[in-house]
Amino acid sequence: MRSADTINARVAFDSHRSRTMRRVWTTTLKIVLPIASIIGLWYFAIYASGLPSYVIPEPTAVLNSLIVNRALFFEHFVYTLQVALTGYVLANVIGIGLAILFVALPISRDAVMPAAISIRNVPYVIMVTVLALAMGDGFWTKVIIVTMAGFFPVLVNTYRGLKSVDPIILDRMRILDASLWNVFVRVRIPYSVPYMVAAQEITGSSSIVIAISVEWMISRSGLGYLINQSMMAYAGERVYAVALISAAFSFGAYSLIHFLGGRLNWAERKDR
């Protein structure tokens, strides 16, 4: 009896260990395989295309550049981060602020919405040109462009969320004579959270892409500027290094937003 138990326990332990091993193995494969396949494709592209190394450098050259120029990359990365983050925060302040205003004071929607749609539809190359002429190529010019490119999804989604409250809940609030503050803070805004979270994924990645693009056009610092510089110097490995940094940055930002959004989002939490 006792020995049977021991054997059972042993089997259980072994199967538990083998399950853990299998999980470690699959996770490793999930990480290693894409990297290996990307590097493989990369080498294949080099040999198949026969392009010069300043157009398509070897992965080792890119890695080497990342290590050698790390101080330079870091400095410009921090600058881009500041532009993107400031623009992103402002896009949210303006987007959420306007959405609340639209719901609290419906006439403001008719007044502001046409302008908001127009701003959204102006090609941002034109915005960059006009703003650069008006304000120079400083930090705030870039921030404004990032904000203008990012606020619209936040505005539209937040507004939709604030309006998505079940009418029966609004009846309840009215019967109880709830204050406007309570209706907004305790009902409308929580109802809007899933919509706001969805908007963050759009605005978050657009903030990074737009920040780099604007730097590419008008800046003297940031990752976009670095791409421009490296291109002029035929330093292909540096362009690729910046591409890797930007990709990692975007991926990190997206994951962070997704993670934080998932914690805030009551509508998604209930599925777990």
Binding site: I168, D171, R172, R174, I175, D177, W266
Partner: protein, 251 residues
Amino acid sequence: MAVNIKITNVGRRFGQLKALTNVNLEVAAGEFIAFIGPSGCGKTTLLRCVADLETVSEGEIMIGGDAPQKVRKARKLGLISQRPAVLPWKRAVDDVRFTQEVTGRAGFSPDDILSDFGLAGHEKKRPHELSGGMLQRVNCASAIAHDPELLMMDEPFSALDEMKREEMGEWFAAELQKRPRTVLFVTHHIDEAVLLSDRIVVMSPSPGRIHAIVSVDAPRPRNREFRTSPAFVETTARLRHMLFNEMRSAA
């Protein structure tokens, strides 16, 4: 504490549609009134006008001598909706508390009322973790948590199974026995109306109006035996005749 209601010549139009016409009704303080009638007879509309969720097109509603808006602003109203009006992210007990926080009125103890409604052990659950019937009972608790002077119920038990429906009815009857409040109760359920009400307002559709008012002359508390008493049988038979025969021949 309880308030009387005076409804005078009330009409309500939605465009061309006459939802209510020429409604006259006086409700004494502490009286339990049921509204019964086919769909489209305007019973919910009438309730919503009393609750100041809608305004009347004609006539006047006075609650304790005041306009509905004033009574609503004094937070004396409670309405149990047909569909749960609970917040999807709130735990049951927090939803009940929410009513008290918003109104600033203590009323019933959230834990007690939830356990009275058969939800002991489910206080911490969120709406998606509760069944439809349980959710509707949370809805009942939340709607009356601030202990309103005028209680309105719009088919509150229609999502409940027969046993829970009876239990809930009995809870309200007992609570009102302890301390009378004025109740307006919309239902499709004839037995339930007779069991709970002092008077039953039978309404007929297009345009929505009062067809007849039936008094239920039976002492309280009315226990389950009341369902088999001659008074109960006679009153339900009368109501059935009105709803199924008189109205059909009129239409």
